[in-house]
Symmetry: C2
Subunit: 114 residues, 2 copies
Amino acid sequence: MTDPLSTTLSALADPTRRAILARLAAGEATVNELAAPFDISLPAISRHLKVLEGAGLISRGREAQWRPCRLEAEPLKAVDTWLERYRTFWEGSFDKLEAYLNEITKGDGNGRQS
Amino acid sequence: MTDPLSTTLSALADPTRRAILARLAAGEATVNELAAPFDISLPAISRHLKVLEGAGLISRGREAQWRPCRLEAEPLKAVDTWLERYRTFWEGSFDKLEAYLNEITKGDGNGRQS
């Protein structure tokens, strides 16, 4: 059995599926609306939606004909939480850069008293 | 050709590979050190490391015998940047909850003047 975070990351590992989520971040949309910007078949879009729905990244309305898709952000929040411990790596680099810039700016101030 | 973000997310969609990254977040390690906590073969670990290396999530030393692995956080930063636009969804929910809690706390203060 696949763990939920792996299922989420696997569902996100596709540019079309990420584009679908980006569209849904702007509001609900039908399958036809979601398919419009892509040069792929409606069945292919449906397969992508099934993967996203399986990962809990989208939910779909109950209406038989017009089943709007909506973004469910909870699994993305889990990715964000997982990333937390690694954030120090690039934030740390920025701190070092800032310290360095402060250092050379200070040096500059002392040197040139114009 | 797979885009870099999809390659990263696909490499992360495995609990063993995420555990390897978590170990490397604490510092460099050899393949043997990385394999120790897992009940899987050394070749299986090597395959996981190849996937992580292919995604640029780890790099390996040049020494023939002792090739330490190290975490490369740059691809994770790209995931963090991609998540940015979705962060408003759960941060927004917290804001709404906070507003609601402020509201009922205020109501409480006006109601019971004990």
